[in-house]
Symmetry: D2
Subunit: 336 residues, 4 copies
């Protein structure tokens, strides 16, 4: 990490999160050299493959990348751990993994939801990279949070931290189609998605245990009901969370908790107005709100993020900034 700027590499630089990472890192003032690997596109110009990016440079194969200060791994779940292990062994100063491979605390839980863990010895070393709740990443390995868990935990942590006796938590989530990945399928065909909407993955979506186990670090929470839906937008997520708890607080009180807990963090903000996806799309923000259904005795929380930014690549760069001691929004100022 010498005077010429950081040497940074991206593995999996042609998926949606990878492309977004490249866009952000290409404009980051502390980066001296950026290598972007893609097995499928090695040798092609990044800007040729993705005409929406005005980035110079050429995709390389993963093997061509060496001597990184910081590595971002944007592979799929299960595919990431192997690369992470090699990077850790080779002494990379900071490894930020965008997959789910290092988000769950132990091997058994991972096995139950994802299958056998490819690098269980690293699980204890990973820091869950949600700085507004857990502070700047410590150590060399950052598990970048899932998009749904980001929105859910930012909304719920201040409540869970303060309230006992939560009886149930129901999370209803809406997601844009970029959340389903870049691979063409019947499910992501324009004609399938447009003028439609539907639940999927429930009642056993893999983000459920991530939400539960991470929240349990700050307080007691029952098992969560999580129902995601696909809606016809490109990017953005909105979660409507219903909390059944003894002694429902006033909405204003909850907004006060948010103000208090997120005071020092630029990307998270609570407002009285319910957040819309358009309030956060193309930004690194999380916008929160709260209301009370006094008839039914329920607390309602609302949380919106851009799944590719605060829900993935924006958070990853924010984590890099904090891990290296920079301002959290360095290179992300236009996404505030």
């Amino acid at each position: 990490m010498g005077g010429m700027g950081l040497k940074v590499g991206v593995y999996g630089g042609s998926g949606y999160a990878g492309v977004e990472l490249v866009r952000l890192l290409a404009g980051h003032p502390e980066i001296g050299a950026l290598s972007v690997a893609s097995r499928g596109y090695a040798g092609l110009g990044i800007g040729e493959v993705h005409p929406q990016l005005s980035v110079d440079g050429t995709y390389v194969s993963p093997e061509e990348i060496e001597d990184l200060d910081v590595a971002f791994v944007a592979y799929g779940h299960g595919e990431s751990a192997e690369t992470v292990r090699e990077l850790m062994r080779s002494g990379t100063h900071l490894v930020i993994d965008l997959s789910a491979d290092f988000r769950l605390p132990h091997e058994e839980l991972y096995g139950e939801w994802y299958g056998e863990h490819p690098a269980p010895e690293l699980l204890m070393e990973a820091h869950y990279g949600l700085p507004e709740v857990f502070g700047a990443p410590a150590g060399r390995l950052v598990a970048n949070p899932g998009c749904y868990p980001t929105a859910a935990i930012l909304a719920l942590a201040p409540v869970v931290r303060r309230m006992e006796g939560i009886r149930s938590v129901t999370i209803n989530a809406l997601s844009g189609v970029s959340g389903a990945g870049a691979k063409p399928s019947v499910k992501t065909h324009f004609v399938s998605v447009n003028e439609s909407a539907g639940a999927y993955g429930a009642p056993r979506h893999r983000h459920t245990p991530e939400i539960e186990t991470i929240l349990r670090r700050v307080g007691e929470v029952p098992d969560v009901t999580f129902v995601p839906h696909l809606i016809p937008i490109t990017r953005g997520e909105l979660e409507t969370i219903v909390v059944d708890v003894e002694g429902v607080p006033e909405a204003e009180e909850v907004l006060g908790w948010y103000a208090e807990d997120y005071e020092d963090w630029v990307f998270v903000e609570a407002r009285e107005e319910y957040p819309h996806v358009a309030h956060v799309a193309n930004t690194n923000r999380c916008r929160l709100s709260a209301a009370v259904d006094s008839r039914a005795g329920k607390l309602l929380l609302f949380s919106a993020v851009d799944n590719l930014l605060k829900g993935a690549s924006g958070a990853a760069v924010q984590n890099m900034n904090l891990a290296l001691g920079y301002e959290e929004d360095l290179g992300l100022e236009h996404l505030e």
Copy 2:
């Protein structure tokens, strides 16, 4: 109701529900004469005002309509009751009101949610027009159900009828923009809605008491938490309902209840596959499904309708058919 076919009139024939009614009634085989009233457009060709309709005929003013066999009133809430009263007094054989004015059972509840009732003496006379739950309309006045309550009650009635000890019901609803009405506003501007999504109306949306009071005719239900969201589609609604109940049944059992209760009704069908809006858009269907979150101990119900058809005008024509002794799908065969 002589040999020349029915004399039918539509009041409020230029809003979204009105236009849809006109489309359906213009193709109905038992209708001999159709009058369509619109204050704003009286004197103009219906097909000129709405180029998507290939309907002959001209809008008239409400005063010009006389001697109807069947009247459909598609005015807004509070505006409808006055016209309904006159139609009832003038001896119209059947009056189908698409507003909320006659859906709630008594004046006090109406007052709490909508304001003073303009024609309370008719409340007792109205039949709630959800035939799959309450049978063919009896009497001369049909209160056509709200769009959200249609989807909610069709999903919940078979459960409420059979289960005791329901502790909570949370309804998360997604709606297309036609549900917000034809009047231009910042809220319905394309740029506001497109690439966005947001909750609105919660926690006190006016469809809440309709859902509760109608459901209580078939069984016990606690106060319902109802959170509607606007999403960027033109038509269709999807509800994801979470039921917290002692002794959660198996999903298959619930699907069996649906099959049993809706066996004789062509427009309601349950499937294992979760319904998508596209499965019901431009049809008079309601599609249902059920799942169980066994970890959190919750029953999940899914219900989709087209808000302008099964959620409004299609149901209104179905109600007319049943009230007059026709097949429920007469003139609606292509919407099955």
Copy 3:
């Protein structure tokens, strides 16, 4: 074609045009038996595979279909001709081919744009199924027109028939994504299409020679410039056609030609108002308009169709109706 209704078969019943055909044919009053073949889905319920269809019945393999009165072939270009040949040989009363295989008048032209013709001996036998221009189909083989040519020829034929000295014709077309087919690809991924628009296929889209050669049956036309664009809608096409001609007529005169030529045909209508896609979507209509750019001395024509209905399956059923002597809109009344 006995008293029990027509025996009808669909080959390629799981693509977008095939599904639309099944929907229409399932509601057609003269059809006694409908067989639907799909190689990929043989054995599966049609309504299982396509939940938006409430059609009973099961996909069969093409080999299982026998003794048809009418066959619809909805295969891709080049794949269709073989099946058509067999159907013609086996004595099928009427074969309607939705591919491009029999639309061009001779082998050489087909070869230039599509490759070697698989059944050239049938080219002379095929009737181009645009009845509003060429009358009810004669003979046993109907070449159902392409979607773009349908819109273009309906707009241009009345002009070409009456005007000499046309110097140039430029067709700018916008198409919904269903026009790109059901096969998932990067091009049809929701994220690629949404919030975007782009030209494709120009300057050598395969519908160009179809437009030119068919139009030349009614008058003289220079080579046509045809530029299609993909826009983020599911269905519908809009063409804006600029004609450079000596002695530009008044727009009213052109509207008069349209009225005259299409007087006896229910699905084609010209209006002063420019057609929007929404005026024809989900219908079998073609809507036309005309304007004059008097400064630049150009005639502007506007034409809109639903690519899956008037541009494919609706026209195919209309062709069947006319070939068999029924009213052109039998079973299509709700699509007028």
Copy 4:
């Protein structure tokens, strides 16, 4: 324009172009003080009115703004000139007008298309702010180009400059709905726009004379046929331009002209690949391409911009930068 940074004001800061200006100016490194005026919202927080903006500060009334170095006027056509006149009189160093009021070269032409000019004495003073064609703005008054003319002139100028004998130019344009302004109307209602597309304004859209007269500064052009269409996207414009000219050049030659003329400008780039709206949306780019229809003997040009950035507010900031001697992309780096 002292050491404390520029004093900048925006008039009309709550329309789409105004909001975009505020977003850009709030992040501009040379601006010391930013005042934003809006008659309708004076006194309200900018970020309250537009939750998608994380901008501090409050709307003021126009009268409250004083002593500006740079003023941006984002009023409608005809409403702008009065404010511009006052700003010029009061000695504002630089006035950038985003309306059409100062784009046409003389009073008569303005009168023919817009009505009587409110400040004709300033017409001669205005510099047409398309720097890639006419260089950095000179003088104190910049007429910021229209969105359609920006895309058209950038595509056509290099051709018009080099070719004689152009016989006709036809511009087919697709526009997102933000181009229709923020005022709610039937035309911009989500339900009107979604799943539709239509031509409007042709054959006498007001951008036509702007395109013609500006192009005639670089070469000879016949009267232009310009047909804009509204499509269901929020932002972005795509123009497909057909040029009929003696001796059609090769596409590669035209791409070479683009490369040559725009070599020194960061925001304009030509590629072989046809531009899609998604390649320029949310950027200040213009992307160009060219093709030849050798059968019909026509040159095809393709040009895409974001109507709110390169087509309005991005260009306005770029003009400010150039007029004040900064790099053209200062504060716009993330929009390259």
